[in-house]
Symmetry: C2
Subunit: 358 residues, 2 copies
Amino acid sequence: MADRIRLAEGGGGEATAELIQRVFWSRLQYPELLKGNDASIIEIPGNLSYNSSQGFVSPGGEAVHKETSRIAVTTDSFVVTPWRFPGGDIGRLAICGTVNDLTMMGAEILGLTTGFIIEEGFSVRDLEQIVQSLADTAVEAGVKVVAGDTKVVNKGAADGIYINTTGIGWVDPLIHLGGELARPGDQVIVTGTMGDHGAAILLARGELGIQGELQSDVAPLNHLLKPLIQKFPGQIRVLRDPTRGGLATTLNEIARQSSVSIHLEEEKIPVKPQVQGICALLGLDPFYLANEGKAIIICGECIGEDLLRLLHQHPFGTAATVIGKVASANPGLVSVRTGMGGERILPMGSGEQLPRIC
Amino acid sequence: MADRIRLAEGGGGEATAELIQRVFWSRLQYPELLKGNDASIIEIPGNLSYNSSQGFVSPGGEAVHKETSRIAVTTDSFVVTPWRFPGGDIGRLAICGTVNDLTMMGAEILGLTTGFIIEEGFSVRDLEQIVQSLADTAVEAGVKVVAGDTKVVNKGAADGIYINTTGIGWVDPLIHLGGELARPGDQVIVTGTMGDHGAAILLARGELGIQGELQSDVAPLNHLLKPLIQKFPGQIRVLRDPTRGGLATTLNEIARQSSVSIHLEEEKIPVKPQVQGICALLGLDPFYLANEGKAIIICGECIGEDLLRLLHQHPFGTAATVIGKVASANPGLVSVRTGMGGERILPMGSGEQLPRIC
């Protein structure tokens, strides 16, 4: 690791993982944090009161530890540039990113917080537009912003606007999802085309000298996925949204967490032609591009078909498809079989591909 | 309001209040958010499960709405400059700010999240020092960091490092604190000297051409205040930490929320001589300078003496003192009687005094 922070350390790949392990996890040893899921679970007392000598006690007075609720917590800062892009803006992204992280834990969303850092001189009209978009997306997702904070920094000390959203959700005791729960034989499903958000942001930056129709896929996935999680408890093992680092990096994380290998079929992975085109032009791989409205589902083989049928009924799941399988050999490995019949390894992303994509 | 965001809008005073009302509250109409307390309360089910048709149901199946827990949620972004200052740094500040906001709601802290935005080129060693300080302060306060996020932005798109912390706490059903609960006849107490943090940051910026020994008061107040809240339920009405905007601005907020007036005795308000000196030099008022380890307590008159005695026993409360009273005439007014016997009004701060103080 270098002496100074590089953009790669924010890219969501190997460099980010190293930074987090070396700088953060070595000092903040909370077991849930170290699991590396999209959200952490904390347990809180149910209908109890607190007593400074005994800790949490039941209304009757005896110390108890059983009547707990599981609360999912997740936090994300959004620094995307440009802040407005085809298909969305930083306000919509800030809600969707956090709604999706909670949804990936199977949580019922109780509330979100928003923390704005705004650069001096930022247009008030643009700010209003961003907050409106954020509010509209919260309504679309059916979630509430319960607390907020606004800071202004001097000109040159930020790039327009950054938003942190933190989300709190309630997890049904019957639901257990996590990157560590994939099993050999499971199917790997994606809910739609890969790389739309990353490619749309690249286009929106206008540095490519090309124009296109491509829109970001940024969308809240709770209404798509929550009914499925409830319908198939235990059979849906892992839900993840492949944001920074894309499909390949997220699958590498899951393969490591679950000590399994994951094998994909390249021809089955849906990618829009425009995204393919941009990737070909720039030498990028769509499997490493960020998505903001797609999920990876790892599930028992027996429910795969039912799941696909239900996904296809929702506008955010029309292109859902099975893209591969989980196996036991070579734990940690992710590979893809190409159309020619060869097999190539998909390593964890280095994180250098695209800074400030979310 | 101007067309472009000004630094004043981040100062925590009148301009911030206007921005928040016009841009945020008009679009995000969550009742708890609109109360304007340091943290919001959300209600969550206790030992229940969720049913998509009925909502939350008890384990027996019937829909219930009674067995709830109250969860306090607060969020803050820290953009202080310089990030290291006498008495602390941005890591310690990020923990204390959020611990204190939850403590002001009487909450038992369940967990904090941290979201880092780091400028490309920031020293890894400095980052390690900040995370260590944050971790040490979390241990001091007895709280856990349960989720985190790290983003890196390109050089020039931030000023070193910004940290968002969001906190989640559990509120005992017997505890009700809020800025709207002050009553005529109540006493106003501060737990120590006013303005230390603001003055220490000013000194640390090195722009004054003077040097001094002054340290920020940044400290977690949960161990000082939690036992008192439990000891005097109902009699402690309002707890607030006077951060951005200082004592005067915070008291103005409380006077508005509770529709009361607040009358202080200038000679009773503790201010360190060094802080007085810096204020005299710069034409500042210590009552508008930020504090990061002090609380305002508004309580029933009958418990004032007991409260002071207990506060004085804790290292963070040795200089606690009664500084004034709540009255019913002129709701919203905050005034201070000077040593000469005159009375001057303390209006809400404009927010222009000190940008990026926290």
